[in-house]
């Protein structure tokens, strides 16, 4: 699946988008897997309360399933308007 990052999450991880091969079943599982990979993920995902997630471009929760998902995006709370 594609994993996308926006705003300071993108800056901490260093890429806007990457293809990730994973058996993770939920967003929480995916986060745990990414955090164990490299320090830059640990830095981005240290405080999950500061993050929001969208699965297939729909805002959702960290306990949401990602089975069959094409796209998961992580970002800080939105500041539109």
């Amino acid at each position: 699946m594609d994993v996308l990052y926006f705003a300071w999450v993108r800056e901490r991880i260093g890429v806007p988008k990457e293809a990730v091969e994973t058996d993770a079943k939920t967003v929480t599982d995916l986060v745990a897997e990414l955090r164990s990979r490299e320090e830059r993920y640990e830095a981005a995902f240290a405080d999950l309360s500061a993050l929001r997630v969208a699965v297939d471009q729909e805002l959702t929760d960290f306990d949401a399933s990602i089975e069959g998902a094409r796209e998961v995006a992580f970002f800080p709370p939105m500041t539109g308007g």
Binding site: L4, A7, A54, Q57, E58, M78, T79, G80, G81
Partner: protein
């Protein structure tokens, strides 16, 4: 219903006129314009607005549809810019058309509250001191609970 996500500036007069024209049964048109303001401690050079291209239009459409289901509206307009914006530039515009002003005003406020916290935009302020992402405010999230 017109929804646009764009880098270019928009023509406020032309957009407001287009929205207001062509109705015989609509007594109220409300428009709101968001403008880049320089309230930072250090001088704001510009604001950079990032968005999530695949999700933004869909998210705004869903918010606009919610507004249309809650209030009696003849039309809805949302324009939101992204990219580099200087202080004083118009960032976004919301417009509502309704038979009565109460629906037009309330729906416009609802659209603004939801666009602030549920449309995937992120603002970064570039000042003489450096660059900082604008943090979401608790009061913006709280504003959603009144609807």
């Amino acid at each position: 219903m017109k929804i646009a996500v764009q880098t270019e500036a928009f023509d406020l007069g032309a957009e407001a006129s287009a929205l207001a024209q062509g109705h015989r049964d609509m007594g109220a048109v409300v428009t709101f314009i968001g403008v880049v303001r320089d309230l930072a401690e250090s001088d704001l050079d510009r604001m950079v607005i990032e968005h999530y291209p695949g999700m933004t239009l869909k998210a705004i459409q869903a918010i606009a549809e919610d507004a249309k289901s809650r209030w009696n509206l003849g039309d809805v307009l949302v324009i939101h810019r992204y990219g580099d914006l200087a202080p004083g530039e118009m960032i976004m515009m919301v417009g509502t058309v309704a038979p009565h002003r109460k629906d037009a005003f309330e729906a416009a406020e609802y659209l603004m509250d939801y666009l602030k916290s549920r449309a995937p935009f992120w603002k970064k302020e570039i000042t003489s001191d450096g660059a900082d992402w604008v943090a979401a405010k608790d009061e913006d999230e709280d504003a959603l609970s009144r609807w």
